[in-house]
């Protein structure tokens, strides 16, 4: 297996009881590549994301990161392995403030010998939060504000700032601009371009055709739990992609899949 491959899934499958949400997904992405995942609602995009990020345990199949097979027992293991994710549900704690949320699960601490009762380094976390926000240009009125009092777009900004604040080997964003205004969307797209310039790989789940064609190198289409197309941006166009999404077309190598 080449080290050039950032992420590879083989026959990745997930059943929720009788619901076959994801079936035999074979996926591969290279270093520095930005890949979009498209597909209708319920096609299995978020399910795919949840299987690679350790949020759920897959029914069968293999996942490898940088050539090494991985079996994440939970989301923290995936984060520690360098996968940063903006989940579609955002995964924010409403009653905590911005910097609490950015560092939730991997707080900066003092007196670590106290185990679970080790102290939080609020000062350090707030400073790092400010730096992260400035770096990403994310706009948040006050980092001491609890998430509860924020708009949908502001919440999304917090979730995105969280991934951008930590160094990562793979970034995954599940519909990061779904709730954002024009300006904020542009901001997120800029963050993504920065990642591209730095050679950091990214998986972007999006319904926005313009955005996808602007940002990524390759487009993967999901339909009813299966991958039905793997298209280089140069070889395709919006109409073509829509044909795959709706089922009017299926890629040759995936024939018989759906």
């Amino acid at each position: 297996m080449s080290d050039d491959i950032v992420l590879r899934t083989e026959n990745l499958t997930k059943h929720y009881g009788g619901v076959h949400a994801l079936m035999g997904a074979n996926f591969e992405m290279r270093q520095g590549e930005h890949v979009a995942i498209m597909g209708d609602n319920g096609a299995g995009k978020s399910t795919f994301v949840r299987q690679i990020t350790g949020v759920e345990q897959r029914t069968s199949g293999k996942v490898s990161l940088y050539g090494e097979e991985v079996n994440f027992g939970g989301p923290l293991e995936a984060r520690e392995a360098g996968i940063e994710t903006v989940f579609q549900t955002l995964a924010l704690a409403d009653d905590l403030d911005v910097s609490d949320n950015l560092f939730l699960g991997r707080e900066m601490t003092k007196f670590d010998w106290l185990g679970p009762f080790r102290f939080l380094d609020y000062k350090g976390m707030r400073k790092a939060t400010m730096e992260g926000l400035v770096k990403t240009g994310v706009k948040i009125p006050n980092i001491r504000n609890t998430i509860r009092n924020m708009s949908g777009g502001q919440r999304q900004c917090v979730a995105i700032a969280r991934t951008a604040t930590f160094a990562s080997r793979l970034t995954i964003m599940d519909e990061p601009t779904a709730a954002l205004g024009v300006q904020e969307t542009a901001q997120v797209e800029n963050i993504i371009r920065t990642l591209k310039d730095q050679g950091e790989p990214l998986i972007l789940v999006s319904h926005n055709m313009r955005q996808v064609f602007d940002l990524v190198d390759r487009i993967i289409v999901f339909r009813r739990g299966r991958i039905v197309a793997n298209l280089n941006k140069e070889d395709t166009d919006g109409q073509d992609v829509v044909a795959y999404i709706t089922g009017a077309k299926t890629g040759e190598e995936f024939a018989g899949a759906a």
Binding site: G74, T89, L92, D95, L104, T109, L120, V134, I140
Partner: protein, 357 residues
């Protein structure tokens, strides 16, 4: 560079609004209740010249009636210790109904290792075990009591976190089990005559010392440590906490263990204070502890509430109890009044939430 400390994106941040924490409302309520009793004392005809708050013999130099203040806080100290744990459980969006019977069971168990061999030169008439269990160093009964509480809490937490039993049901079951253990331990007989050092744990104002010290410790823990932050995170959004990498199940077990250990400690203090342990002790304690947290502004949906709030909630209950005695209304009225106040506190909380959302 944009000024991120104040509203960018057209928003401004109103510092004045945020600096009014919920706890101040409760403090205000506390003051109002005290004033009401003070006024009632002046107005009611049969009260002839007594004062609720001030020293009645020499009231014009504004010296507080220290004896009453002490009683107020002493009355709520033991249940207050339980409430410190219940607060943590409710912040995770759980509930603990087992603490009252756990107090009784722990009182029985701890006391049976804290007995003295000779009472006025005669063998202890309430001795449960042989002389091997007599006059043991005081740490032993305390450690045994705490360990028992920790085990009960760990069982509660395991059922709730790993077997996904709703907290209400799991701790209701434990409520009955603990009452059963309390009755079974000595076959229903009271256990009495503890050693001097065991008595000391609950003597005089010691319960208040324990309550306030533990309140300070847990205030710091909930506010400034990872344990506290994760407790709030789980109550705010359990799924988000899990996705952020918090081991939610393990943390819940820890919270229930801490809560039951606190209840067990309350049992030890109660046994020491009463110098006897009975299976019927701690009746309704679990409910009063929950009431303290609720009056203290906790949200039963989880994620919000504080140790300071609960301490103030305890003071409110204490003042009401003492105030009713002061204006000579008996226990039946007290219960009705407390019930009304609890309902009022919950209505207020929902009103507040609706306004915020």
């Amino acid at each position: 560079m944009p000024d991120t400390s104040h509203g960018i994106g057209g928003l401004t941040f109103d510092k004045a609004k945020r600096s009014w924490p919920n706890e101040l409302n409760i403090l205000l309520a506390l003051v109002i209740i005290i004033v009401v009793f003070e006024v009632l004392g002046q107005v009611l005809p049969y009260m002839n010249d007594q004062s609720f708050l001030f020293d009645s013999r020499d009231r014009f130099d504004s010296i507080f009636n220290e004896a009453r203040l002490q009683i107020i806080i002493l009355q709520v100290a033991i249940i207050g210790i339980i409430a410190l744990g219940v607060t943590q459980v409710i912040i995770t969006a759980g509930i603990d109904l087992s603490s009252g019977p756990l107090v009784a069971a722990t009182a029985m168990i701890a006391m049976s290792f804290g007995q003295t061999e000779l009472v006025n030169g005669f063998p202890n008439p309430k001795a449960l075990f042989g002389t091997w269990a007599m006059d043991l160093p005081v740490v032993l009964p305390v450690v045994i009591g705490l360990a028992f509480g920790a085990i009960i809490g760990a069982i509660n937490g395991t059922f709730i976190a790993f077997l996904r039993i709703p907290p209400f049901i799991a701790t209701l079951g434990m409520f009955l089990i603990c009452r059963g253990i309390a009755l079974w331990w000595s076959g229903g007989n009271p256990i009495s005559f503890p050693t001097e050092s065991f008595k000391y744990i609950g003597s005089g104002m010691m319960p208040v010392v324990w309550f306030l010290s533990l309140a300070v410790i847990f205030h710091v823990i909930m506010r400034y440590t990872v344990y506290g932050k994760h407790t709030y995170a789980i109550g705010s959004n359990e799924e988000a906490a899990r996705m952020s990498g918090i081991n939610v199940k393990r943390h819940k077990v820890m919270v229930y263990t801490v809560a039951s250990s606190l209840a067990a400690f309350a049992g030890v203090v109660l046994a020491a204070k009463s110098e006897t342990a009975q299976a019927g002790m701690g009746e309704f304690y679990e409910l009063f502890a929950i009431a303290m947290a609720v009056i203290g502004g906790i949200s039963l949906q989880g994620g919000r509430g504080s140790i300071i709030g609960t301490v103030l909630g305890a003071m409110v209950l204490g003042v009401i109890r003492s105030g009713f005695t002061y204006i000579k209304l008996d226990g039946s009225y007290q219960l009705m009044a407390m019930g009304s106040i609890i309902i009022a506190a919950i209505i207020l909380d929902q009103y507040r939430q609706r306004n915020k959302a």
